[in-house]
Symmetry: C2
Subunit: 208 residues, 2 copies
DNA sequence: ATTTTTATTTATCGTTTGATAATTAAATCG
DNA sequence: CGATTTAATTATCAAACGATAAATAAAAAT
């Protein structure tokens, strides 16, 4: 087998393997699943750690499409439509066994790529959601009045509804509603109906 | 040191240790933290697995107070008050480094005690929340019309807002709003304002 | 076809790891 | 106090693990 194909095969199977077993999974078990001998792994990667690092790259890079950011901020459409469109698209990448578990395992381990990813989520999702929510309610823009911690927590609530569904399914193995698109739509509508009720209070508390 | 005190000390430190490192943490590292030698652990526990089992018991048992169930169903108080009271009390046990991480690690591992705990959450929290929500909106009681999967998903949304806050903090190491009581109150008020907007549609879809 | 390169395997090393056996130190008890 | 039990340590085992070296098989090149 050609080196490129073999390497790709190793990374792919290692991703599934570590998603299942965690990063303490043994190289011998991985090689068995690949149908090759364990030392062969070390011809393609100098160490187990370097293979794990490669898995991180492979997994994380594929899970953020720069297009998504624009979906939220495009004020030519109703906010509900935008958020539903974004979270449905996002679910296409995120509602996935490998992603959820690698993300949780690396998060628990405290890996830096996790922080970097969450910084993107904050910048491209949470803060924009807060900004749009303010705009809808006729509240001051973030340029005038910065978004505070409690307000950010509000956007995290929507994100929590959305992502915890995946945790329940792929980490705990619980069943979830068959129609996840419908569930996402419910999340967004619930959020947009409920958030304005608490938003003003949050801003008032922040400005004292 | 007396055997009872020593055993309690081992379990306590093992709990912290496994919460940090995961269950692949080495017995030698644990013993080092306890200030004892590694073989001593095997005088108190026949195997590492049995110590882990003991940690499960210790951790999980302390995290569900039977009193909590009653908080949700007591119709002498407004539903908002009840849910706020419940989730604040629950947070006292759940917003905790050890709990969140042991829960996630054991969930990822697929340990059965996790399923048993989640069954309690479903019975004592999620289904009652759906029932109370129906009562508030003048919808049929669960005795008449069983609670469906999409409807349960609605209660999970509130739970997700609540629990994902803990995951963010204790698993990812992200900062959260200082006043968690206020954040919980916001979650509940957002939920109670938003849920009725989608609830009827969910039930209609279920009955077709 | 023979040589050279490269992919893969076999064999093995040095540590680490969970666990046990033998020994020492410290209580406990008559 | 001395005898006996018990807590804890030292020493060590066998298996597992990440990693390396040497050998083989399969392509590629001349």
């Amino acid at each position: 087998m050609g080196p490129k194909a073999r390497e790709a095969l190793i990374v792919e199977e290692a991703t599934n393997f570590f998603a299942e077993q965690g990063f303490e999974g043994k190289t011998r078990d991985l090689s068995k699943r690949l149908g090759v001998t364990q030392p062969l792994l070390y011809r393609y990667f100098p160490s187990k750690e370097s293979l794990i690092e490669r898995v991180y790259q492979d997994v994380y890079v594929k899970r953020w499409d720069p297009e998504w950011g624009g979906l939220i901020t495009d004020r030519s459409r109703p906010l509900a439509d935008r958020l539903i469109a974004f979270y449905k698209a996002y679910a296409g990448a995120i509602y996935d066994f490998v992603w959820v578990r690698i993300f949780l395992y690396s998060g628990l381990k405290g890996v830096d790529i996790n922080d970097r990813y969450l910084a993107i989520v904050k910048d491209k999702v949470l803060l924009p959601v807060c900004a749009e929510l303010r705009h809808e309610s006729g509240l001051p823009s973030p340029d005038t009045l910065p978004i505070g911690a409690e307000e950010l927590e509000l956007a995290w609530s929507l994100h929590g509804m959305f992502f915890y569904r995946a945790v329940r399914h792929f980490a705990y193995g619980l069943p979830i509603a068959e129609n996840t698109d419908q569930a996402i739509e419910n999340d967004v509508r619930l959020f947009l109906a409920g958030a304005p009720v608490v938003h003003r209070g949050i801003i008032e508390r922040a400005s004292t």
